[in-house]
Subunit: 148 residues, 2 copies
Amino acid sequence: MITQKAKYALRALTVLAEADDGEPVMISDIAAQQKIPKKFLEQILLDLKHQGIVVSRRGKQGGYLLLKPAHMITFGEVLRVIDGPIAPLPCLSITAYRKCDDCDGEQNCQIRHVFAKVADATRKVLFSTTIADAVAPARGAEVTRMLA
Amino acid sequence: MITQKAKYALRALTVLAEADDGEPVMISDIAAQQKIPKKFLEQILLDLKHQGIVVSRRGKQGGYLLLKPAHMITFGEVLRVIDGPIAPLPCLSITAYRKCDDCDGEQNCQIRHVFAKVADATRKVLFSTTIADAVAPARGAEVTRMLA
DNA sequence: CTTAATCTCTATTGATTTAGTAGAGTTACA
DNA sequence: TGTAACTCTACTAAATCAATAGAGATTAAG
């Protein structure tokens, strides 16, 4: 299961993706539109900012904007910064590899072998789907394919 | 990430799969062989028993045995009983469906649509791989295919 | 029929993660 | 200069994870 936080992050990004270009959207507006607790959303957007996915403008008329176009932001990268590794085992993580303390002999670990397939299949979906696909499923996917 | 408990469960089952037919294996032996804390493993095997995956014999000469042949026990069913739902969102779970309290309009939920693909891909791997495949990767997979 | 080996069951615990809440601080537009 | 916005750090209640503890039930062997 992905966390509530990740779900909120993805929803918030779809709101930003639907906003007029260059027009910042306020935290309060996103929170209201998506029924996300405002203070919690503040933290989430801050995370996304620190990770280079969105930018913000402070003061009056401030708000958040996407840093990259929506079709360049994958579900995978969002999940990774919010929820951590995609892999089902630490010894299969690309970004946070850690040897399993029990199993030595990683190459012939029976379980690892199976979950490597799971990880591949999951990554294939998550990194080929973007926020643009989520906003306008049909058209988004088409654009993504055209740019691939 | 799957839990440590699930990893232990899968490893324990591979030990049972490798045992001689009809020969019970003691908890202590499994624990020692796989470096699993014994008391923790007791709970895990009890769970697996309650869920109809293994059987036990008490008293002297007792131990655990697989209830079904190893090629009939999928990774998916083990994960499900130990870690809970496979789906990445409650509203995508087969065994524990629950409506997301935020998103109404499930049919056009932008996020759900993407994670449905993730769930499908994951299930495809987890329910087509068995404990037998884990024990003897090549031969196991072959047998599974022959029986499919 | 007693004993020792083995599984069974329930409770407890410490650490970590999750899902927020709180509040003071900073920036920038009008 | 005021106030509407984002920024940052800390705190908390509840749940989950990874065990540990210990008394109880069952069975094979002697």
